[in-house]
Symmetry: C2
Subunit: 351 residues, 2 copies
Amino acid sequence: MGGDHGLVVTIPAALAFARREPDAEILLVGRQPQIEAQIVGATDIRHRIEIVNADEVVAMDEPPAQALRGKRNSSMRVAVNLIKEGRADVAVSAGNTGALMAISRFVLKTLDGIDRPAIASALPNQKGGATTMLDLGANVDSSAEHLLQFAVLGSALVSALEAKDRPTIGLLNIGEEVIKGNEIVKQAAELLRASRLNFYGNVEGNDIFKGTTDVVVCDGFVGNVALKASEGVALMLAGMIREEFTRGPISRLLAALAYPVLARFKRRMDHRRYNGAALLGLRGIVIKSHGSADAYAFEHALRRGFEAARHRLLDRTISAMQPIADQLSRMKSSAPAAPVDQAQRDSAEAS
Amino acid sequence: MGGDHGLVVTIPAALAFARREPDAEILLVGRQPQIEAQIVGATDIRHRIEIVNADEVVAMDEPPAQALRGKRNSSMRVAVNLIKEGRADVAVSAGNTGALMAISRFVLKTLDGIDRPAIASALPNQKGGATTMLDLGANVDSSAEHLLQFAVLGSALVSALEAKDRPTIGLLNIGEEVIKGNEIVKQAAELLRASRLNFYGNVEGNDIFKGTTDVVVCDGFVGNVALKASEGVALMLAGMIREEFTRGPISRLLAALAYPVLARFKRRMDHRRYNGAALLGLRGIVIKSHGSADAYAFEHALRRGFEAARHRLLDRTISAMQPIADQLSRMKSSAPAAPVDQAQRDSAEAS
């Protein structure tokens, strides 16, 4: 039901995905009569589609706490419940991110050893591949241990989706020019170095798009700002190209001539192919599509969820987490408790 | 002497700037014989050029503390000293940023009411203007009061360079989708709202390039990552365009035909026009050019320094700071001292 466009985007995308992927079974969660009206023509795949009724809808601008407490029969809540009940492997939503995170966390709970879930997304890089970055805004003021956990989550996601055995991990930091480093990042680097993860070392903002590492780990505040700044630059540049190629009749003619080249470029920078952020660290796979996604973009989000489940993302995360949990508990038993860290965790639990 | 290329860039840029700007008087600081060899032909402007000898040079990768303590006759140190002695209004360097910051801070000291200097730079925006962003990496773990001070510094810079009376200030934050806000940013928003600055409110990463506000204020860690991520995206996209237009003979022909359009686009996204970051909050104006700057870019850095001095940046900063200092001291007298903040300031002083 969610996203800026609702069923007119999500249903056609789901039908297209089901046709392309004969192993997929789709549970469409929302207002049954509206959904039924949208799938009338899909007789060829109707046997792999089930409608699960949910009367309420979380609004895009609704406060997460209100969505969580006030709408127990929202399509979002019912969809996430399906994972908990074992009826679904993945939930995909284009709805309100905060509400989806709050509901997923409340219903599914975090995996053992994970204090906080994180949001991860793939971004295109110069190498022609993708860099997976997290956290993109689920957490602010992450501790060093949280950053280590994010690294485990990101590593498991890349190994599931891209069939890489030991994805490289970069820790987002700032360059030599800075007067002082950030203490939490320094501590996180030590934890990562001591872990069994494939830790590359510190990376800087430009390394995200260079593709220096498979995974880039950072606090959610930093990640969210970097992501949106990057989107802002890309939009600005695309706008400038458009302006220059429409500035007059000659420019327009040249644009028409250069169309095949510009179209290839446009396709390469098409963010829709990267749609589908993963909410990681939960006892279930939840994928968040961009609210403004069209059917093409939403199908990509479905694809990411499907592949994550098919390649056993949760099992991978749990196995990768085991040595990390051991590492952290060894540290804890050999060092006095860090009061700031405990306070952070308490406030996170209380939220 | 500094930068990746040294005198072959800085001297031609300085000569070109002096020719373009008849009011400018230039002090060239560095190894006198080398400098003299570079300016032999400049007889037309020689009377406005003075060479100030300095035997030592700070290396690009030298630790700031070593440059500060070990090289008291470096060109950087001598140039900044010229400001202190009242012989220069501005120092411009393409050298080691950390060393330039450490030397400038040590020699010049901060202005009254400013705890820490900040690095500010102009970034192009969709509106065809520039957004001034700070801090870009001089500080990490900035307190709410520091962010308020950065706002004063950025506001004064824009009012000096762009003849805007009351520049709008945006506070960099993350979107609605986040579960929890960042406490320091929330406090900073309150301080900004209570100040006499033209505070717009929170902005997100994409607003930098939308040009939503004249100034965007953030912690140096976040600012540095956002800046470098943005540079990374721009480089990636420029590389993709180049690849697509050189992919085969037809694409190359189209590129040749579309050359005037592509050249206009290239000029608009030319980061050299934005070269010259300002080290703000000091008792003197110091401008940092990109180390890789060519003569065209370095001349832009000289221009920024010249305009900042001509439009009395320091006086503007001092007058803007007065009401802020009053605001903060009123707050202090009506509230108990914040211990964390004091510890941060102490450790900053010690560094």
